[in-house]
């Protein structure tokens, strides 16, 4: 599982599921992304941190095909990819759980899990939803993750925040995905539910999933991630192994109090920490 021995200075062709080089994106005159560079080692949790407006969400949206970058390169398993819409991103194995919980309130759990990928049966133009199959599979997907398993036929509107996030995570993890991107997965949750979701993320990693975790919460990042990438003003400015950094350093990197001259080639060379050690 932990195949990604540290090779931080040069982008390794193997071991990284996803590599991003020099990604840029402007909206009109606003340069939302000036220079983003990032590797996601297989089976690890990479945290992406930064202040509001640092470009984290833009980066994620460029990765998965919501936005198209103006410049730069994204590779999945070494192959360059260009997504003109999120469907292509999903087809290539990038699943996202967006900040605003991309569930549709008035659809059922199963409908949400299968949204855009509904199972059908029939032939030619007469294809009808295979609800039985979807409900059965949906139950399987959700019960792997959720402790308090919601009924798959109930509307998402009736679920708790934690259950919703479990559904969103189950959807992201359930589709033979290569990378699961979590955009502020606990921003809208209470303490207990946050704990639940963090357990979910851990269990996803135990299943070998590669995860990009966008978060504001430094403690959470320290608890969950293997490496941390810091963004500031549209650039990826630093990278740290989680085991070799601390909350204070991250704060100063985010605010710009500590300038990182290079992409910190020294600290990673000395030790290749097991991602397991970072768990609290």
């Amino acid at each position: 599982m932990n195949t990604a021995t540290e090779t931080p200075t040069s982008p390794p062709p193997t071991g990284d599921v996803l590599t991003v080089r020099d990604l840029r994106k402007s909206f009109g005159r606003v340069q939302a992304l000036r220079e983003a560079t990032l590797n996601l080692p297989r089976g690890q949790v990479t945290a992406l941190i930064g202040d509001n407006g640092a470009g984290k969400s833009t980066l994620v949206r460029c990765l998965v095909g919501v936005h198209q970058p103006d410049q730069g390169e994204v590779r999945i398993d070494g192959e360059p990819v260009h997504f003109s819409n999120p469907q292509q991103g999903r087809a290539a194995g990038l699943e996202t759980v967006f900040q605003e919980l991309a569930l549709v309130e008035d659809l059922s759990v199963a409908q949400n899990l299968f949204l855009g990928r509904e199972a059908t049966r029939g032939f030619g133009p007469f294809r009808f939803l295979d609800r039985g199959k979807m409900n059965t599979e949906a139950l399987g997907m959700v019960s792997q993750l959720a402790i308090n398993v919601p009924q798959v036929t109930s509307r998402v509107r009736r679920l708790s925040g934690g259950q919703r996030q479990a559904v969103a995570l189950a959807r992201a993890a359930g589709w033979s995905s290569k990378v699961v991107i979590l955009d502020e997965p606990t921003a809208a949750l209470g303490v207990q539910e946050t704990q639940r979701v963090e357990q979910l993320i851990d269990s996803l990693r135990e299943r070998g999933m590669t995860i990009l975790l966008v978060s504001h919460n430094f403690e959470q990042v320290m608890r969950l991630s293997d490496q941390v990438v810091v963004m500031r003003a549209g650039r990826t400015v630093a990278r740290r192994n989680t085991s070799e950094t601390n909350g204070q350093e991250l704060v100063s990197l985010v605010t710009g109090a500590t300038q990182d001259p290079d992409e910190a080639p020294d600290d990673a060379e000395t030790a290749a920490p097991s991602p397991k050690e970072t768990q609290s």
Binding site: V64, P86, R90, A102, D106, L107, S108, F128, P150
Partner: protein, 327 residues
């Protein structure tokens, strides 16, 4: 409209399931049916002939056109949009039908021409709204005017008499209480129900109404689905055009404004959220029948027809309140 799948891993204990069930009933969706029953009881007491076979059949016959338009409107409203052009599109369809009929075309081919004209309006609506990014309200307000204007230009403001035995049979013959026009309207409603709840397109319609942004992020082609619902609405208006010609016996460039208002009213009565995302077909159809039954009943008890729009308005707003309190 509750789903009837067996509930695996039901979390609810049986003790309070009885009480919970009552509050979990989909009241907004039931409102139009319950309202219709209440209305039937009240008018039956006030006017014994109200529930006679002849009158029920007449109500249904009078409701057929509205049912067809309401089904189309439901699809649009389910995506969070609104189609103000349905009635004008129907008028345009009827006029095109009349013109081709006057040229000596077979009635069915003429009807097909009317349908095509209506669908073109729908394509225009859909593309301008979804690709052009202009508010549905404005776009369909524009086509409301444009389509009825076009109908006036094509017809030169005159009606074309369409006397065709087949069309007369459509209104007169049928099965038991249901004339063929009613059978057609209800058949379309059944198809619409299947499309909305048993196809991918239907799920995407509701998903877009619930959250267009989420749907887009999951790769649903929002513009295509949006265009689709306006085409459905206009297509059904094109079919309604045939029914309107059959009923009037002519293609008239009339404004038919009440059809527009009533189609929206029926959708609201049917508990469809005007913000989109939540809809059924059965309930708006019941709403369309309710509105027709209300007008019929008011006429039968001898209330001046001037009171009818007022009553309809009050009923619709009351229904909207009911929807609001059950969210």
């Amino acid at each position: 409209m509750a789903t009837t799948h067996p509930a695996p891993a039901a979390p609810a204990s049986t003790a309070d399931s009885g009480r919970r069930k009552l509050s979990e009933l989909p009241w907004p969706e039931l409102a139009s049916t319950l309202g219709l029953i209440a209305l039937a009881v009240i008018f039956a007491i006030a006017n014994p002939g109200y529930l006679s076979e002849g009158n029920v059949s007449a109500i249904l016959q009078a409701a057929a056109i509205l049912i067809v338009l309401t089904v189309g409107q439901t699809f649009v409203v389910a995506t969070g949009g609104i189609d103000l052009s349905v009635a004008s599109t129907m008028t345009l369809g009827a006029i095109v039908l009349g013109e081709f009929y006057a040229l000596g075309w077979n009635i069915w081919f003429a009807a097909l021409a009317g349908l095509v004209a209506a669908i073109l309006v729908g394509v225009l609506n859909g593309l301008v709204i979804s690709k052009g990014g202009i508010t549905d309200f404005i776009v369909t307000l524009g086509t409301l005017s444009a389509a009825s204007g076009l109908a006036l230009i094509i017809s030169d403001g005159k009606k074309t008499t369409v006397i065709e035995p087949v069309l007369i049979k459509l209104s007169v013959n049928g099965v038991w209480l249901f004339s063929w026009a009613v059978v057609m309207a209800l058949g379309l409603a059944v198809i619409a129900h299947v499309v909305l709840f048993h196809t991918r397109f239907g799920v995407h319609v509701l998903a877009i109404g619930g959250s267009a942004e989420s749907s887009r992020s999951l790769g649903i082609r929002v513009w295509l689905v949006k265009t689709g619902v306006y085409v459905i609405s206009a297509g059904l208006a094109g079919i309604a055009a045939l029914l309107v010609v059959a009923r009037v016996g002519a293609a008239e460039p009339a404004a038919n404004t009440s059809f527009l208002l009533n189609s929206v009213a029926a959708v609201v009565l049917g508990g469809v959220s005007l913000f989109g995302g939540r809809a059924t077909i059965v309930a708006p159809v019941m709403g369309a029948i309710l509105l027709t039954a209300l007008v019929n009943g008011l006429t039968r008890v001898g209330l001046s027809e001037f009171y009818q729009p007022l009553t309809v308005g009050v009923v619709v707003v009351l229904a909207a309140f009911l929807t609001r309190f059950n969210r």
